[in-house]
C-alpha cells in the first residue's frame, strides 16, 4: 500500500513541471502562437534559478527569478514570432538552441568540469487536516509548498482563459484575428502578452524542476519535458484542466521509469525503461488524433492591414 501511495505521490511531483509548461502552452497557443519556444523559457529559468539559489540560498527568490527569466525569453521570442512573423515552429526551435548553447557554455566556463554543486531542496509540508485523509491525503497533500500553488494555478488559469474578458480576447485572437481586430482588440499586443504569460508559466516549471526536484543544473536538464507539456496541452484540448490530466499521465510514466528498476522480478535495460515517457507521449498523441481542432489561426502570422 505504502509503495502505491509513494508511486502516485512522486508521479504528482514529477508531473508538476510538465503541467506548468502545459498551462503556459494553453495561453500561448490559444492566442494562435505555436509554443515551440517553451523549452527555451524552461531551460533558461532552470539556469537562472539555480544561479540565484547558489548566490542567496533563498528558494523563493530563486523561483521568482526563474519565472521572470522565462518571461523575458518568451518576450524576445514574441518579437520574432508575433511582430516580424517568422515561422513560429523554427524560430521556437532556434530559441531552444540558443538558450541551450548559452546555458551549457556558461556552465562550462564558470563551473568548469566539476559542475554545479548540489544544494538542499526545500522539504515537504503536510497540510494539517487534509493530509489526514486516507490515501488521497498522503498522495495529494504531502508535497512541497510550491506544488500546492500549482493546485490553485490550474483552476485559476481555466477561469482566466474561459471566463474572463481577457481570456475571451485571447481566444478570439487565436480563432479569427482579423475579426478580433475589427472589433478593436489589439491582435499583436494580445498575442505578445499571451506568449509572455506562457513563458512565465514555463519558467515556473523550469524553476520548480531545478530547485525542487534536481537541486542542481546540468546540461540540457529539461530533456523532453517541454515537448511533453506541448503534447499535454494538445491532448487536453488547450484547456488547463484537461492539460493537467494529460500531464499526470506523463508524471505516472516518469514515476514508473524511476521505480520499475527497483522491482526485483523485472529485468529491463535502463534505456528501454527511459523510453516509457516518450512511448506514453506517442500513445497520447495517437489517442487524441483527429478529435482536437487546434485554434484556427494557430501558427499563422497576422499583420494589421
Amino acid at each position: 500500500m505504502t509503495s502505491i501511495v509513494l508511486y502516485f505521490n512522486s508521479a504528482i511531483t514529477l508531473a508538476v513541471p510538465i503541467l506548468l509548461v502545459a498551462i503556459g502552452v494553453c495561453y500561448s497557443e490559444k492566442s494562435g502562437v505555436y509554443a515551440m519556444n517553451s523549452d527555451s523559457s524552461m531551460l533558461g529559468s532552470c539556469f537562472i534559478s539555480v544561479a540565484i539559489m547558489l548566490g542567496t540560498g533563498n528558494a523563493v527568490l530563486a523561483i521568482l527569478g526563474g519565472v521572470l527569466a522565462g518571461g523575458i525569453i518568451a518576450a524576445l521570442f514574441s518579437i520574432f514570432a508575433v511582430r516580424i512573423g517568422a515561422n513560429q515552429c523554427l524560430i521556437g526551435l532556434a530559441f531552444n538552441f540558443t538558450v541551450m548553447g548559452l546555458t551549457s557554455s556558461l556552465l562550462r566556463l564558470f563551473w568548469n568540469t566539476g559542475g554545479i554543486p548540489q544544494f538542499a531542496q526545500p522539504g515537504r509540508v503536510a497540510i494539517p487536516l487534509l493530509s489526514q485523509i486516507p490515501v488521497i491525503g498522503a498522495i495529494l497533500f504531502n508535497q512541497p509548498v510550491m506544488i500546492y500553488l500549482v493546485y490553485i494555478m490550474v483552476p485559476v488559469s481555466w477561469w482566466v482563459l474561459f471566463k474572463s474578458t481577457w481570456g475571451l480576447q485571447i481566444r478570439a485572437v487565436g480563432e479569427n484575428p482579423s475579426c478580433a481586430d475589427s472589433v478593436g482588440i489589439r491582435v499583436i499586443r494580445t498575442r505578445t502578452i499571451a506568449v509572455i504569460v506562457g513563458g512565465l508559466f514555463s519558467g515556473c516549471g523550469g524553476a520548480i524542476l531545478a530547485v525542487q526536484q534536481v537541486g542542481t543544473f546540468t546540461e540540457e536538464m529539461t530533456g523532453a519535458r517541454a515537448w511533453m507539456g506541448i503534447i499535454s496541452a494538445y491532448f487536453g484540448g488547450w484547456s488547463p484542466i484537461g492539460s493537467a490530466g494529460a500531464a499526470l499521465v506523463f508524471g505516472l510514466a516518469e514515476s514508473l521509469e524511476k521505480r520499475i528498476q527497483l522491482l526485483p522480478f523485472i529485468n529491463l535495460s535502463s534505456y528501454v525503461v527511459q523510453m516509457f515517457p516518450y512511448i506514453a507521449a506517442l500513445i497520447v498523441i495517437v489517442l487524441t488524433g483527429r478529435n482536437r481542432r487546434h485554434p484556427a489561426a494557430m501558427a499563422k502570422y497576422y499583420q494589421k492591414q
Binding site: G85, N87, L90, I91, N96, T98, S269, L282, I285, R290
Partner: protein, 360 residues
Amino acid sequence: MNDTKKLNSATVIQTIFRLSSVIGAIIGLLIAALFLTLLGINTIEFFVELVKGALGSPKAIGNTLNRAAPYMIVGAATAIAYECGSMNMGQEGQVFMGGLGAALVALACPGLPKPLAIPLALLGGMLLAALYIAIPVIFRLYKGINEVLTTLIMNYVATLIVSAMVIGPIACTTSSSYPRTDEFGAAYMLTNWRDIGHLHTGIFIAVAVVILAIYFFYVHPAGLKARAVGFSPMASRTAGISPTKVFALGMLMNGAFCGLAGGVELLGRYNNLRGSYADGIGWDSLIVALLSGLDPKGVLPAALFFGGLYTGISTLQRTLGVPSALLSLIKGCIVIFVMTGTAIQKYHQAKLKKPAKKEA
C-alpha cells in the same frame, strides 16, 4: 516596361533574401565572439584559431569534409522535403536508425565482398530509417496528427533504441568495457586516407546526392511538382497534384536519406556501432537546410560552412578551452536571423522596396 521593373525589384529582394543567410551566419559568429570577449577570449584570436582549426592542416580539412558529408546528404533531402510541405524535425532520430540499419546488415552478413557489402549496408540503413519515418507519416495521413511533435519525440526514442541495442541484443561479444557492437570487418569500411585526417569516400557519395537533388529539384518534372506544393498546396491541388502524396513521398525520401547519412557516418568513421555515434548530425543538418534557404544549390556551401564550424570549435575546445556548446548558440542565432530574413521578405516587402531600389 512595368514588367521589367517588377522583375528587377523581385531579383533585388531575392538577393537580399539570399544574403540574409550569409548575414545570419556572420551575426551568429559575431554574437559568439562577443560572448567570448565578455569572458576574456580575444575575438581576433578566436576567429584565427577557428579558421586554423577548420582548414589549417590537411588533417583539419579532412575532418571538415568528413563532417560535411552527412550534413550535405541530410541537408539536401530536408530542403526538398520542406519544399514538399513537410515539417520533419526527426532527422536526428532517423540518422541514428540509419546507422542501426547499416550495423544490423553488417553484423548479419559478415563474409560479403566489399563492392556488395557497402551498398547493402547503406541500403539497410535507408530502409530502416524510411520505416521509422513511416510511423509519423501514417499518423499524419490516417489520424491527421501534425508531424512536428511526433518526429521530435521519436528522436529521443531512436537514440534510446540504439543505446539499448548496443548493450543488449547486438552487444560486443569479446569485451564489455564500452557499450558497442563487434567490429564489422574491413569489407564494411569506406576507403579512407590517413594523411588527410581519415577523409573517407562518403564525401563523394554526399556530393553525388547533392547533384542528384539539384537535378531533381530544378530539372525533373517530379521536382517541379514538389516545388508547386511547397509554393501553394491549394493551387497544386487544382492542377491535379496531390499534396498528400507529395508530402508522404517527401517525408519518406527525407527519412531514407537521413538513413543513408547515418550509414555513411558509421561505415566511414567507425567500424562498430556505439551509443552516441552521430550526436547532433540530424539537428545540425536541419540548420544546414534552413541556412541554404531550402534550396539544394545552397546546401553545398552551407554544409561546408557548418562542417568547418564544427571542426573548428571542437579544436578550439582543446586549445582555448572554448565550450563546444557554443555551436548550439551559433546555430540558434543563424536560424533566428535566416527566418527573420524570410519573414521580412514575405510580409514586409513594401517597406523594403524603397531602399532596395536606391541600391539598384
